[in-house]
Symmetry: C2
Subunit: 340 residues, 2 copies
């Protein structure tokens, strides 16, 4: 049996390994400081397709294909796949994975989707419900921009707090296993809503959710920031990252020296015009699968908390003046196994 | 450990009970043949709110409140909740449950969401990851109509194969337990896409997915239709139900006398103008929570297969001429426990 620890944290019973990971990205992501971490970079973000939506699905297909090859299995060896994306009704994923003929569970956590997938995949692998559980997610700048904001052709002015949706996909497999990276604990996020209504400031909307989950993890486990090499968030960007550290500071928790944010890392903020940083399901997913998991596998990082962050808004909720609920799910990913 | 049986079916290790269930509906649903099965019926479908979207969220809140009262617990006794709906980015659920301050995992399976939730909740309860896992889903005629089709004021003509999105929400709790209804097996669905492109004929789009999952369950377990009192689908409606039985018949599997479809049951097809039947996440969810689970609890039904069905389309995919992928997840719900 997995063990519950505190309100929201779950400790797997078995040794749970992330056994393979793959990342695929667009041109701009390839030109960023982590461009070398991708398994494939597309030259024009169309991935050989005729629409941006088909391109996003093709990108997911490529990530999944790379994952399957790197794990040295056939698609039918995957027990199931968990996946989702930002498009209405998650069509990026439905069309992206449908050719693989896999048992599929759709999940939606906005940009926290990769964390939610990692959490559920780890628990299903732990319980024996899955032998090899896969996770996939993606975002595409061009599909997100026209769905959430403006037609690309309009060339709308972006505000300083706005973030750049990554064109990227990340995929991984989780199994009971004896090799790092290990999944040592998982914290399920709670919806946090502090009343932010500016859809161009999602970092501020998500920071309270990230803080709620990260502080909950420490409370649930009795561990503290000094036990970790890094506390990684998904896409808080410059604004949200500052807010997260401030929220933590107020409670006497110092994250400043440990905190990394995939949204701040993905692009070169000096030379790539992304304003407050990167965002999108693919931002955290590709940084996890392209950079953090390999770093832990190699032992260069020993213990990280990975908490992707999602803003649960829609254009309808924004147009109706609703606030932006945030959520963040967390995984403790480690180069070592063992009890807390 | 839970046991995998065949490609897609999972047998819980422990005795898994659905310990409480609640259903809330709109006016039309209250006037239907199962109107008496709802815990609450709203008189004007606004649920005291100023927009249809807020109404859908309020309806979810009511279903969850009823569930918590029927289970005689406080919200904080729920280990986590799984939920989703049809609205873009699942805002019905994000706003519906946010006041309850619960660990939340967003899921998306279109109208199959209640099955997906039941599946994951059962597996998480089985493994000890959750002590009490809740599931919630909803749909609202007025939010769905204006999101997927036309503004309500337009009064668009509906085609004969079109279905009526139910204004309804269903919620349930799953735990390790010794009282019926028991969850004996779960089959994860695979995306099935036979090329149907008519968004007004979702029954036809979903029937292959339902058949794929139901036939997979029989193959995975060695059981056959004669072991069940009913094979229940979510919202195939008149067209999809006929297709499901035809697909089964071709393989020598007779479902005709066993098959029930929530979409065909929810409304009085003679006197309530719904064309091919009901649909929406709330259709299968409210029939499950309002009718089928009580029937099994009382022993009037002994064994059913419950396979809600989802059409994974969006307005974007339809406008781009894409086909409609379908999915269906299945639970064997029983008045008795025991091995297969």
């Amino acid at each position: 049996m997995s063990k519950r620890s505190g309100r929201s944290t779950i400790l797997p019973e078995n040794s749970i390994s992330v056994t393979a990971f793959a990342a695929v990205g667009g041109k701009k992501e390839g030109e960023g400081p982590y461009g070398r971490c991708y398994d494939y970079i597309d030259s024009d973000d169309y991935f050989g397709q005729s629409s941006f939506e088909l391109a996003e699905s093709a990108m997911q297909g490529l990530a999944l294909q790379n994952l399957i090859e790197k794990r040295k299995i056939e698609p039918e060896d995957l027990s199931l796949i968990l996946g989702g994306d930002l498009l209405n009704q998650c069509i990026g994923t439905s069309f992206g994975i449908s050719n693989f003929n896999l048992p599929f569970l759709g999940i939606y956590g906005a940009c926290s989707t990769v964390s939610e997938g990692l959490l559920l995949a780890s628990l299903l692998a732990d319980s024996g419900a899955a032998d090899i559980a896969a996770v996939i997610t993606s975002s595409h700048f061009c599909t997100a921009e026209r769905q959430y904001r403006f037609p690309l052709e309009y060339g709308g002015q972006r505000t300083p707090t706005s973030q750049w949706t990554a064109t990227a996909s990340g995929a991984l497999t989780v199994e009971r296993g004896e090799n790092p990276p290990f999944i040592r604990a998982l914290t399920v996020g709670t919806v946090a809503d502090k009343g932010i209504t500016d859809a161009n400031n999602m970092g501020a909307a998500m920071a309270p959710a990230a803080y709620s989950t990260i502080s909950r993890f420490f409370k649930d486990t009795g561990l503290s920031p000094k036990d970790f090499d890094a506390v990684v968030t998904g896409d808080l960007g410059n604004v949200g990252s500052r807010l997260l550290c401030e929220l933590a500071e107020r409670d006497g928790l110092s994250l400043k020296d440990l905190h990394l944010d995939c949204g701040r890392m993905l692009y070169d903020q000096k030379n790539q015009d992304v304003h407050a940083g990167g965002s999108g399901c693919g931002c955290a997913a590709s940084m996890l699968c392209g950079y953090f998991l390999p770093e832990i596998k190699s032992g260069r990082l020993k213990n990280i908390l990975f908490a992707a962050t999602g803003a649960l808004l829609s254009t309808t909720s924004s147009q109706q003046g609703m606030s932006i609920p945030g959520i963040s799910h967390l995984a403790w990913i480690s180069a070592e196994k063992g009890e807390i």
